[in-house]
Symmetry: none
Subunit: 206 residues, 4 copies
């Protein structure tokens, strides 16, 4: 009837509003539909269910971020922490890339990481943390073996992994502008790196 998916788009934008305001769980399909001027049945023509409507808003972005993360982690796996020398100054290209992806899809990313409770994406942040933790734990283990009298402080590796992700989450929820984000991220990343360099080892038999 309507040309060019007008209703679908309206539905998506009203859904985004509602999800942003109340989160997935507290969002009401009735509310979304009445805002969009359609009946609840319409949602089920375009989407499988409430989760499907949410997915339509965040899935591509989820895939994008996931892809960027995987790409980065694969590069990192060839790193040798013992040889690592941090050059202060500009960002790691990956960080810039990631921030770019994040800010290009600011709303979707926000939905994904802070409005998804109750949806199938509710553990997305934990997934990401787990991914980078696995990666870093591997690198750190090798590094630890090469340092006599020291052993890996695993809880610290977990915490720094957690922190790495939370830094980005915080960024998104507190800095709206991409340029400001890049500026903010410089000291934040350096701080993070200080953590990786100084605190992942502890004295043996502690």
């Amino acid at each position: 009837m309507k040309n060019d998916n007008e209703t679908r788009e309206k539905l998506l934008s009203c859904a985004k509003e509602e999800f942003m305001e109340k989160g997935f769980q507290n969002a009401s399909l009735r509310q979304i539909c009445s805002k969009a001027g359609v009946t609840t049945g319409a949602v089920y023509f375009f989407f499988k269910d409430k989760d499907g409507l949410f997915s339509a808003l965040v899935e591509p972005t989820y895939q994008g971020v996931l892809g960027a993360l995987i790409h980065h982690l694969q590069e990192d796996m060839e790193e040798d922490l013992a040889q690592y020398v941090h050059k202060p100054g500009d960002h790691d290209p990956f960080v810039e890339e990631l921030i770019h992806v994040l800010y290009q899809n600011h709303d979707a990313v926000t939905l994904l990481i802070s409005k998804s409770t109750g949806s199938k994406y509710e553990h997305v942040v934990d997934e990401f943390i787990e991914m980078i933790e696995k990666n870093f734990m591997g690198l750190a283990e090798n590094y630890a073996k090469s340092v006599p009298g020291k052993q890996l402080n695993r809880p610290m590796v977990h915490w720094l992994s957690h922190l790495s992700i939370m830094t980005f989450v915080h960024l998104l929820t507190h800095v709206k502008d991409e340029k400001k984000a890049l500026r903010f991220m410089k000291p934040a990343m350096e701080h993070l790196i200080l953590g990786w360099m100084n605190f992942i080892l502890e004295d043996k038999d502690k």
Copy 2:
């Protein structure tokens, strides 16, 4: 008449279980009451409403933590960052005190910080962050003025304030034992202090 509020205690312990398992929002009063072997009306005799039941579980702990925090912040306010010298080694007494309070009331604190969505405590973590941010911002402003060619990096102060709180949150949700918590907190706090010392200033006119 049951002696000594037996019902009230049963209700509280079943509520704690349910809130722990599902969070405030997804917890069902019906469920809590049937576990406790009473009718839903009973809740409304002892407590104002669902929020009141939750409060009964967390309010004293909330006040305790809040008090400890305020106490610490007041001490801190007399600090002069320019003079601050970090002595690595043992913990700041305040940190030990706080960890102690936190672990003495582990369940209640957990409810407060990670199971309170939907209740009146849902912004408790943000409150704490705001409090320490205000405090630190004041100190940091004075400090910044005393360093020529530099200015305060406010977003960084905010982030470090956030981080200070999140460190404790992470601690509670990942380390169950108080002794292990103390051990974990040493490098974590040192990392935090590195942040405060190195990254809250930036070049002017940036």
Copy 3:
């Protein structure tokens, strides 16, 4: 344009599947159409409505069975029960004919008699029962008059009519092969005839 009503045929075969599986009432047009790879609107192009779709599957068969039944009943009406002698051995030609019709259209008949709840055919079995009951009741009344001291046991005539139909229904739902059906039907029909011969009269003034 698809040649030769390809879509219509697809729709019919998918509908048959769905109706067979779930019965008329629980069948979903959505499901049928998605199986058939068309949209729900298509149904309404080819058929009047859900009932019309079902009709298209069963109406010819319904007419066939109805015709065979009427034909048989007309022959029966000339029968004189008092003169009737049962010759055991082969089937009544009508029974063979009916079984043949039934098994030639096994699926449609099944839909008609056991999957039609909710459709306009839902009382088809009752209709058939009523038809043969009327017929037999007439014959039996005449017969009863000719036997002194006896009267017609009407409920028994109704029950035997019911049974006559139910025998075929049971046959269809339990015996898949026509040859086995013919074999099964021999003792079943003889049993039925024993009923007609021995139990439709009762002592007067009972």
Copy 4:
């Protein structure tokens, strides 16, 4: 509030009406509640769900009938078909007992056997058939072994089992009065017995 479960009773009687009229599946809880003058929530105070409401109406009767059936089957198991002599005249005491149970709970039995589609009782008739079939099949097998040149006609045993149950079902739906039921059942049962005696064996290698 209301004394003595007034609402519960009202709900049950309105539910019975609705289930009787439309069957379990097509019955609407909203309709039942509005007839009863309460809100839908009330149903869920007294019953677990729609199925629970239906159960409250039929479960005791189901248990009663099941019990009577089991009791009867255990007696039957000591029977020896080869020695069986049928004495026409009065009913088997069990038949009288069963008819009595059935007519004492006429409505509930009707719900159970012809209005239960969609509920957990929807296969109750099939269950009963299966029970008596198993029983009879055992007896008939022994009997068949004792007759040379003959073998068991299993489909016929199944059909007669089916018939035994269907006779009672038919009775309930067509004869409202218990006395009339007893009268009707005499020839019907004799007919059934003729079946068991004459048609469960067939020539070997058929």
